[in-house]
Amino acid sequence: MHGRLKLRPPDAARRRQREEKLRHYREAMDALLGELGVPPAQVLSLTGSVLAANPDVGTCWNLRRRALAALGGDWVPSELSFVAQCLAVNPKSYGAWHQRRWALARPGAAAPPGGREELALCERLLGADPRNFHAWEHRRALAVQQDAEAELAFAGALLSRDFSNFSAWHHRLRLLAPARGQGTGTGTGTAGALPAPRLREELELVQNAVFTDPTDQSAWVYLRCILSRAPPPPRVICVHVDREDATLAVIFSRPVKVNPERPELTATLDGSALPGPWRSAEGRPRPSHTWLCDLPAPPTESPAHLEVTWAPDSALREVTLQRGEDEAWWQEPIVERELFWPELGVADAQVLQEQVQMCQELLELEPQSRGCLLTLALLLAALEPRGRAREIREHLATLRDADPLRAGFVADVRSRFEAALAVLGAGEGLSLSNKGLTSVPLLERMSALTRLELPGNELRALPAALGALRRLTELDLSGNHVTEVGAAPPLPRLRLLRLDRNPIGHAPALAPLAAWPRLALLGLADTPLGSAPGGPAQLAELLPGVDVTFS
């Protein structure tokens, strides 16, 4: 048929262009790297031509920086516009963004052309891709000097285009962070909350988002963040002294690391400083809830007065070991709300109640919504843990079924809830049998316990934070999935340990128990070890002072 065009193989033109580009790149790179001493001006033009085509050649950026530094002069504005060009080619080029920050940080850039131009650049790039994390990062760095309201409006505008944007929510949160206060002393005061009208605005935004699309997690995460504040700094919640062991134990609300060289934690015994050193209950120099210090000599029969000072909040805690007593301790009273959701402590109960209502309303329409179920469970646990325990357990069970991929996470949330609930009602003893616990959180809050019963749970190991239980004498772990003692620290006062019906198969798994000073009874009924040939004998050898029962 006539009129038909004759064609080269498809894309021949494109291939030619690519070959041309490659040839150009090779030439430029050869010139740059081939011989030393290329004059800076030429370096600039060579790297410029390479980078304009492909802004990800790190070598070129490095050569370029060296050349610019050598050249001197006011090159910042022109370099910034060059980088902007490169960013147009690849808006996520690490090299180009780095170059930009480097140029802006030059002392030569005394009056940084930054400010508005930088914001405009970010705005343009974010307009094209609202999730360009480089641009967000750049903008966040700039936002420090910017009008917070304008920034909030900017993030808001991007959200109104598409609210599935974690970066935009995060930007908002960061802007509001100063108002939220970065942690203030104790967990109680109202300091650190957002001003009420602002909080309402944010909550309304969240509400719009979650009702529009409850499956989108970004708004739920933002809701939980905006309701809470920055986590309170660690503080001393318990001091315990044991006469026989001559050990002082200090328990913190959050794991801390005490530097043995320059300890922020100091203690005095009857006015004279303890020499230390401080060691963690787990015996590792890692952040820990529990830090121990040996007393120089076992206190005599006279009353011993101990003072503990934690430098960061300069709080002073005192304990006096009376004559005739084995131990003495001080413990901070427990704040119910903090137990469940420590960061939530400050929010207005009225606001929280409204959020509960909002979640319940949504749950009626969307009974399987993950974000809604989790938020509702946490809110209820923070507001009325005891009164609505049944409801909370139901929501968590629904959540586990609705979101099988995160079943482990849900189990941990549930463990924390059960543990907290138990801590609240605990006296000397605490029983958490058959609760499906996968971990034992809040151990730092249980330091006053003497008896802890955890039979029939899902524990796979002894909790590492067990060291906080300075007073514990009986621990029941029967019917779990424990296979070994592992890294659990020795418990100073523990007499009875029940590990019945756990899959413990060989004696060395229990060897660390030899270091537990007062352990006298070990229950190992219905364990594989009991029926293993030679097992009991080997164990008796390993733990000479312990009375082991296999039935």
């Binding site: 009129g3 719009n208 329409l365």
Partner: protein, 710 residues
Amino acid sequence: MADNLPTEFDVVVVGTGLPESIIAAACARSGQRVLHVDSRNYYGGNWASFSFSGLLSWIKENQQKADLSDECEDWRKLILEDEEAIPLSSKDKTIQHVEDFCFGDQDSAEGVEEAGALPKLHVPGALAAQGESPGPEKESPAVEGIPLGSQGSPAVEGIPLGSQESPAVEGIPLGSQESPAVEGIPLGSQGSPAVEEASPGSEKENAAVESPGEEPQSCSEAARAAAGDGAGAAPGPGAAPSTADGDSAPQPAKTEAAPSENAAQEPKKITYSQIVREGRRFNVDLVSKLLYSRGLLIDLLIKSNVSRYAEFKNATRVLAFREGKVEQVPCSRADVFNSRQLTMVEKRMLMKFLTFCLDYEQHPEEYQEHESSTFAEFLQTRKLTPSLQHFILHSIAMVAQTESSTLEGLQATKKFLQCLGRYGNTPFLFPLYGQGEIPQCFCRLCAVFGGIYCLRHAVRCLVLDRASGRCKAIVDQFGQRISANYFIVEDSYLSESTCTNVCYRQISRAVLITDQSVLNTDSEQQVSILTVPPLEPAMAAVRVIELCSSTMTCMKDTYLVHLTCPSTKTAREDLEPVVQKLFNLNTEKETENEELEKPRVLWAVYFNMRDSSGVEKSSYAGLPSNVYVCSGPDSALGNDCAVKQAETIFREMFPAEEFCPPPPNPEDIIYDEDEIEPEESGLNNSPETKPETSAEESSSEGGAAVTKEE
């Protein structure tokens, strides 16, 4: 000159409406020799758009309906004995009941002339199509050398098809890797450079416009011109297509300065004389449609790369008319999130329902028991509040309340939702400079691949070969016989005797020029679609499309409002009640406050257009198998009907050929050194470097006459 047309083609297409133009383009693209003629002096037939003065003359023409010339039957002599003639109609009877109204001081407009208007040639038939540019009034701005940059102006707003959602990003062509590439059509990046090259052009148009002084042409010149007809007449979309880089942005500022002076002193007080003077700013479509962003037409525009010839603007909002008030319909996820009128529960219920509609086929249990009921009834069972039901039924699904079944409604809703988000927050695109651009864009592709164009070129009859029963030629108004294998004829060209058994529907149309939007918001530049539910049960819903001046279809501070519905009576009887509900028709200042809030109508026209869609070919009497009939515009919102028809006809003619495949990369084309074919320049879309050269750039014996006139 007419006898200088080649006498042999593969395909002859009569009529330049959308389906005909698509077929012509597809045929030329697959290597057929195409002759494309239209007896009118503008492109598009009933798909055309007009400047204001162009529209006025169109109205006059259709109101008079006088026989211009008695039929000359000379052509009968050319029919041989073993042949039979099927005469074609020379009169267009598709437009009826044209009534126009001016609500301002019309007298003051006496003697006011459209700025830049051409002295019009009225020599029907004579020297028809030399270098006539389509829509002459609109396209020939520069007789006095007034640099009307307006043609290229909307650069920033135009949406280059194919690049997914590119909100004008100030000149930085962001890589497509950023945009959520729904489909990997790299048109945005690939197509745009070429388009850019094509943009410097408005002066050149001049060259293509025939000027009276040069009329007498020697025969040999005419011969070239004939071949070059495709060239001269190669339809240039009004928009000098330019990319969104804002090159030409400064220009419109200049040209708009004049009208805005007035506007600044007395805002929104537009007089009739201003409308006449600024008439060139209007591009009034005879059909009012929008492009579904995942509709067949968009797919075709992208696939064939015809999109490079046009620019588009997103419809910005979907409106509803409920309880006497116009409201915005939240239809996308972002809309629902931002909406202040919906309660939280409504937001959830609406989103839930829309999400269900997106894959309703997967959940038959949700709708199965309602399959026999109407969609409206189905909505009532879905825990949706009345306002939500109204939004979904009328503004999203846009189906009839009393007739449409549940499945129809679900399908329509799904289509709407699928189109969301491809180019913006609504499912619709509107071509800048009007819907009339689209047929011209396809004509242009046809011309680029060698199609020959003749406007004002009437065809007298089809010549039927008695023995084979096939059509073998046409006879045109000059008595020239042109033979071909296939013939495409638009319905309105068929004679009464051919159409006796055909039963046509009618479309009622109204076009209004108003002084403000039906729903004022912070932004004046809105493109809105509004469905007004039937005021009486027996009537149909009325579709209202309101265009702002940035669509390049009306002058600054005015809005162009299109109303469309299937006819039950005359257009005015059908549509005036809705116009009265939405607009203020009084010329004097009204005392009632309510009336004052409504937009004032400055000028209006009503007409009925014949809807020849959906007519079976067998209903036409005595048409041979190689004659295909294209229908005129249908009443639906989208263009799927026309595209489907074009594709079906093309496949029947050439089952083995691909339909409008992407054009090859110009650099991949091999030109034989021996036969120097200047095709390349055309395929390149590169502009002529010297504006003074005429637009008829090249021709060759293959009939490949290729040109750019912009």
